[in-house]
Amino acid sequence: MTVAAEATAHRSRRRPRSKRIAQASVPYLLILPVVVVITAILGYPLYKLVVLSFQQYGLAELIQAATSGAPAPWVGFDNYSSVLHDEVFWQVLLRTVIFTVANVALTIGLGTLIAFLLIRVSTWVRVPLTAALVLAWSMPAVVAVQIWLWMTNFENGVLNYVLTELHVGDYTGHDWYGSTFSKLAMVTLLIVWGAIPFVTITVYAGLAQVPRELVEAAEIDGAGPVRVFRDVTFPILKPIFLILTSLSIIWDFGVFTQPYLLIGSSAVDTTNYLMGVYVFIEGYAHSDFGRGAAISLLMLLIISVLSVFYVRRMVKMGEAS
């Protein structure tokens, strides 16, 4: 065995240089296709995004580019100053931050509680509950939006019926899309419902790795469930929580499909924009691509800052394993 290993080592040392270079280039050849595809399809548009943000680029320029290829006029930092001096931008930013905090807190909080519930219930409850979570998780966003529209419909939506029957109040004919707060609350319900399963199932898997003896020892020492969580379980699960929270922040900050479709393309406006919807309407729907590009870049910048933690963490883990 060792002789064979030595022999191969010896042989490789004597390999001609050209062969060694060929060997070293293998990983680069393997990643080359991915790099080429990403650079061609994403790199160029990203470069274009930066260029666009300094241009006046509307529908006319778009048609021009596709036909004659004439360049669009340069406007310097006009797009940026227009956006940064726009009250709407700051309102949308603030609204999106509050929305993100609420959604992330609800998702992580409820998701964790359900994970703890899963260890406490009997198997005949755990199995259907897990199945329900996976089912909710698998629903496509567009489908989930249609279900929500139907359940919250003011005429014969089941939500109004149930709330009235439970004597929460008279919700007959209640319009859930009347005020900004109510609209965004419905979007929050939809997003939290769809996002809880990922959190619950990840935390539940993590809980299985908390040594039982530690929890029991703490309980014998008289620690209640809250203290056990704070001093024993949470420190062990902390890496999981950090990753789940940063992923949720990134996803919720940039969310588009749920708010756009649930509020409705005809009802989204400056009073209820979230960042993803705002950039879509201002840039694409209004065909003001230059200004939209400036907003996109600002949004990408914020998300990059938010992502630094997650990316660093994943890279470190990639090295460790």
Partner: protein
Amino acid sequence: MVTEAAPSAPQVTRAVPRVASVRRARRRRMRRAAWNVVGLAVFVVVVFPVFWMVSTAFKPDNEIHSLTPTWFPTSPTLQHFRDAMARPYFWDTVKNSLIVVGVVVVLSVVVAFLAAVGLAKYRFTGNKLFVVLVIGILMLPQAGLVIPLYVVLAKYHLTNHLLGLVFTHLVILLPFAVWTLRGFIMGIPKELEEAAMVDGSSRLGAFTRILLPLVAPGLVATSVFVFITSWNEYIFANVILTDQANQTLTVWLSYFYGTSRATDWGGLMAASTLTAIPVVIFFLLVQRKIAFGLTAGAVKA
């Protein structure tokens, strides 16, 4: 059952520990029963939206529009499914979705597999940069990429063309596929391959005979997840494909609501069910395998 223990009385002292343990066991059973009730309540809340979609899809219109809803369809009908499938562009958009998804799955898994092997099996300068690139792209918000992708695709006359959407989906899904496949490949013990090479196999031989069969489940799981994401994708499909006959199924579904003043809820729920079915089936198959890719390694086993 004795519930009152009098520790002072000598004849019951021996029975005290038993009574206490019986009582403790009973309290534990009570507590478990209480948790089970909470668990069932959560089950109902979590499953209800999906149940309501399927239930509505099978109900006749008079049951759907009644002010007191019936929980289960009393006289189930397939009429809504027939209506949904008969609506204009349903089959066109199903076909388009299948074409886009098929091409994207094949291209992204093949190309990503090569890169994943490069990342998992070789140490090379720049591999960290590549990992940062891959994960960084995974984090980009899609809404922020709509404008540049649309403008560039419009310039090359690729809007309103399935190819434009295929390109876009490739960019979103390649990083994801690279990252998960890399995890699967790294999960295979190095010794297996090395053993094959010591036994005289070439590197390529060891690769095709040892690595490939072992990584096949990972390839299947990744393909399925690429399938699901591409099938579900909405924003780019909506922007890039403008003609109704060129759109994908999710975009078709998103226009279903609000096409007329009185929405056909039964038809909408039947159409939603039809859209979700392939996703749910595939998701159930591979959920276990992929769920932890995004958090892999956060807790050491």
